[in-house]
């Protein structure tokens, strides 16, 4: 069935977004992309180590993928905006994942700075996907600021603890008229499926795939899980039935004379 995900006017064919950090080798990336089917791939921008020759990860991302640079390293809106502009000027396309983290213990995002950056970048024509803590009022403000989607965390980056923020993410899915993409903390394919069953538009997975013993196989597993969860969501999950009782204590009076 045709079930396109539309972001920034572009049809995205796969609801698993892939992060490229922590891989033992960049050579694994195209293999994981192929095995998982991921179309949106994130990268980061860093200073070159002048004493040591290194590779550009972007050369390992297949050409038909959507490259989404993140603003990791930014501690405030100003820095995030600078990174986004640099990435775009370098020919990276106009998608950007706004990630502003000033907390180095848990790597939790700064919702306020992220919102500021989102507003500035959206006005400059970027397709902005803000990474955030699932706060409904902030998410509503992200909508007003021009975000193309919202990306609430499932649990802290790298923790592999799954959907700890499930109830809050559920509220975002119900209330926010943009794609809700669960990003961070998804540790298993079953958790990715769970997010998709709830109605998430997509999930972004990095650590769980990159640090698996066999990243390519894990990428394949996540691809299948995301598809399964999405199909389940679309086909309507069965409801939990309560047994009916013979008597009608609340409304019985309506059927008798009173």
């Amino acid at each position: 069935m045709h079930d396109p995900l539309l972001i920034g006017g572009r049809e995205i064919k796969n609801r698993l977004f892939l992060g490229t950090g922590k891989f033992s080798s960049n050579r694994l990336i195209p293999k994981v992309v192929e095995a998982s089917g991921a179309q949106v791939v994130t990268v980061a921008l860093r200073r070159v180590d002048l004493d040591f020759e290194e590779e550009n990860v972007a050369t390992y991302v297949p050409g038909d993928c959507v490259l989404m640079p993140n603003t990791s390293g930014a501690r405030n809106a100003r820095e995030a905006v600078r990174i986004a502009r640099l990435a775009r000027a370098a020919g990276c396309g106009n998608w950007v994942k706004v990630e502003v983290i000033s907390d180095n213990r848990y790597l939790l995002p700064d919702n306020y700075e992220t919102l500021k950056a989102t507003e500035i970048l959206a006005a400059e024509g970027f397709v902005v996907l803000p990474y955030m803590s699932p706060d409904l009022m902030v998410a509503k403000a992200m909508v007003e600021a021009g975000a193309a989607a919202v990306m609430p965390l499932g649990s802290p980056i790298g923790s592999n603890r799954g959907l700890r923020t499930k109830e809050l993410v559920r509220i975002l899915i119900e209330e926010i008229p943009l794609p809700v993409i669960v990003d961070a903390g998804i540790g298993r394919p079953s958790e990715a499926a769970e997010a998709m069953e709830m109605g998430a538009a997509a999930v972004l997975v990095n650590t769980a795939i990159a640090t698996a013993a066999d990243p390519v196989a894990m990428g394949r597993a996540f691809g299948m899980a995301v598809a399964a969860g999405r199909t389940a969501h679309l086909s309507g999950l069965g409801e939990v039935r309560l047994c009916a009782e013979a008597s009608s204590p609340l409304t019985g009076f309506l059927r008798s004379d009173e």
């Binding site: 490229t20 950090g21 990336i29 860093r46 290194e54 640079p69 990003d183 961070a184 972004l204 990095n206």
Partner: protein, 66 residues
């Protein structure tokens, strides 16, 4: 002359261009981004940009990230 290169003070010869610097550091041009005083400098402009005292230069590249 003193130039701030990737956040560190570096003493570079007068008249050095961006292209010269990249070559001197043995860096592969195609994989880099260069930002001079807050502005991106495209690769074809590197031979023409002469570095000056107190310039702030950032040499960046794309890396894996989530």
């Amino acid at each position: 002359m003193l130039v701030l290169l990737n956040g560190r003070e570096s003493d570079l010869p007068e008249g050095m261009t961006v292209a010269d610097l990249i070559a001197q550091k043995n860096l592969r041009p195609g994989t880099l981004l260069v930002e001079l005083n807050g502005e991106l400098v495209k690769q074809d402009a590197w031979p023409d940009i002469v570095l000056k005292e107190e310039d702030r230069l950032e040499i960046l590249r794309f890396v894996g990230g989530g």
